[in-house]
Symmetry: C2
DNA sequence: GACGGAATGTTAGCGCGCTAATTACTTTGC
DNA sequence: GCAAAGTAATTAGCGCGCTAACATTCCGTC
């Protein structure tokens, strides 16, 4: 009971600190944690649409739109019109976003944050998180 | 490597969903997750100052100030001047905040979200989170 | 007792998540 | 072929985290 509150407190606190640290690192290349994550997904799925990206990341389209605007303004990505459907816009990385600096810095920061966690612990954590996600989904559909 | 990215993605996603669900539940009594957490800490430490509360929760004072303003405006807490120090202001719950509805709803929502996680899994998660927090702190002081 | 530094709280301004509502286009069904 | 329904992207507006900068009040030292 009280322990449960403590666990959720710890989760929230760690997530805040994680974001803060990641943002501080990402600042070196002109990014934030959220924007770096957007780039990472586009790198995996070049040409994806905004709706597709929002679904892939579990974000709402308006949230994503602002990141995409900022990333485009800063020269990390481009929006291209699609032939078949005038509503959709395909997203692509620029050379700037593909540069080793960006990807390496993100990878290194992530590794440092998870340093010392055994694969078993990571797997257990993933399993617990999935369970929590299921619980929330169940609550949601009721 | 890629698995680490997946783990952090899962963490971020679950935290977003957790906040969304908690906010939806808390709306019934006119609260949000963040504000419910503030009330919970004040309940444990009646008369705490804002700086003390910020430290206790790991939040920055300006972040807390807005929650306190809102909670005071909505009649959940009161600010009282302290005798010895004209800078400090002590925080107290009102009867409204102490009502069973508020505390029970928060407890129930938390329990539902963590339903089905064994004590061992919760402990392992806490341990892993502590490790991550240590890693972040180490990065920070460098 | 006056001065400089520390602590408390506040203000201003930004990033990132959300929902609700709008616009433009596509698809479906009659 | 056209109206209705659905989909992609956008706009507007809110909550919650942050940092930077400021006023006020204490406290320690001289």
């Amino acid at each position: 009971m009280n322990d449960d509150a403590h666990l959720i407190d710890a989760l929230l606190r760690v997530m805040r600190e994680l974001r803060r640290q990641f943002d501080a690192s990402a600042q070196e290349v002109g990014l934030t944690m959220s924007r770096a994550r957007v780039l990472a997904v586009i790198a995996r799925m070049e040409g994806i649409t905004q709706a597709g990206l929002a679904h892939e990341m579990g974000l709402e389209p308006p949230t994503l739109k602002r990141q995409i605007d900022a990333l485009e303004a800063d020269g990390f990505i481009t929006r291209k019109a699609l032939d078949g459907d005038a509503r959709k816009r395909a997203l692509h990385l620029t050379e700037k976003a593909r540069s080793a600096r960006v990807t390496r810095l993100v990878d290194e920061t992530r590794a440092e944050i998870l340093d010392g966690l055994s694969p078993e612990n990571k797997n257990r954590m993933r399993t617990s998180l999935e369970r929590i996600a299921e619980n929330i989904a169940r609550l949601n559909h009721r």
